[in-house]
């Protein structure tokens, strides 16, 4: 499903600005990535940097940074976590974030508290879809995917 051409996946969890998505993994970790909205707003992404595995990232300290054009900034983090793994395919080819933002995950992280606590601070399902669509309308965001 989509809004203004921006793909939305109801099974994922989102921050309240729909900048990042998170997916629960069977081993108790979370996989995080950028939403279609975020990759569109950022434009062509040229660099991604993920902090080293084992690094503790408190709320507000980014798991990763990106650069597009000459803009640099954080991929926000909304729960305390430890970085377990970066997606090396994305590190080698950051443009993947523009092509397939929901397959091109950025990092696997382990929440410092329980997974439930981490996800409780995020939105999912119908409520997330409503908020996601509202942001695309409010900011007049029309998503475009990058080409390889």
């Amino acid at each position: 499903m989509e809004c203004n051409g921006c793909e939305f996946r109801p099974e994922l969890y989102y921050d309240d600005q729909y900048q990042i998505w998170a997916r629960r993994e069977e081993d108790g970790s979370l996989t995080v990535g950028m939403t279609d909205i975020s990759q569109t707003v950022a434009g062509k992404i040229l660099h991604v940097r993920v902090r080293r595995p084992g690094t503790l990232r408190p709320v507000g300290k980014p798991v990763a940074t990106i650069e597009s054009g000459k803009w640099a900034g954080p991929v926000p983090n909304v729960f305390d976590c430890v970085i377990e793994e970066a997606n090396h395919d994305v590190l080698d080819d950051p443009n993947l974030l523009n092509i397939e933002p929901y397959e091109a995950w950025i990092a696997r992280v382990r929440p410092s508290g329980s997974v439930e606590d981490a996800l409780n601070g995020m939105v999912t399902g119908d409520a997330a879809q409503a908020g996601y669509c509202e942001r695309t309308r409010r900011e007049d965001i029309h998503c475009e995917r990058g080409a390889r």
Partner: protein, 359 residues
Amino acid sequence: MNETVNTWRLLDTGIRRAAENIALNRVLLEARQQDESPNTLRFLGFEPCALLGFHQSADQELNLDYCKAHNITVQRRITGGGAIYFDTAQLGWELYLHKRDLGTADMSAISRRICEAVARGISTLGITAVFRPRNDIEVDGRKISGTGGAFDGDALMYQGTLLIEFDVEKMLRVLNIPAEKLSGKAIASARERVTNLADLLGCVPSREKVIAAISSALADEFKVQFESGDLNAVEDRLYTAALAEIDHPDWVNMIALPAHDRPVRTAARKFGGGMLRVNIAYDRVQRRLKQVWFSGDVFVSPRRTLVDLEAALRDSLEDKLASVVTDFFQQRSVDMLTLTPDDIVSVIKEALGNAEVAA
């Protein structure tokens, strides 16, 4: 109907060490994101330094031996883009804004709006400055202000370097680019790409005059007035911690990539219209042309065509090379005598296939 004119803060932090200036970047952006700071226009100056883009590696971008021998500090910006040389003869300008004051989330549109306003301000000094996509301000095809941005949530910072006077040869020595070979031709070629206010005006304009010109243009663009101010208590507190982090080798060396992953490659070929030489900073990992420089005496009209093509090719994927060049020439009318876009593509491909230039 009376309109209320919003007031934004004007900061002039004078000439400082690079670490102090970058720490202030971090502080002012963070405080703006926390709504602890107002929208702010800041002017700044640097003691001699080489500034890396946020995701760059010093080993790949800089001549570190030269920097060390000449007391040129190496620092890392929080903004993207390429490495630059900065000394007391340039003026830095920066805007710290909340996205809601811009009316768009489109980062390219934000860059354009700010650059076009600053270009109008520079033009009031008696020259004709214009925005050159993606991120430069130029005068007659020659760059006079490079720019870049950083964001944090809903806050953003956009900054630029205005060349009041500029030592091109020193820039070439600091930056690890092919013209580092420093032949007269290489320096002349670099001089064709950049300009500065002193050369254009025939005198060095006062710092105050330049600041007034830029401030006035930005005030007009955003329908605001500026009021001089100082750092507030929150910013003062954040600054101590930010400086401790940034004035440290861990920050400068945060990204350390081997120089051999970003070789410089070159090729030259003689055509009916003259010699065309191309130098390419190549990202071997991403298979991307990081930067391209054309030189030689090939006939091309208008003259700025090759500089514009350099901008179009920046950061392009190697396997997109032909389509970037073809699209570029389809969008404009260019006289190159017998030289064709395919010829240019073939020289670039030849360079990419050649061994790297010795640093």
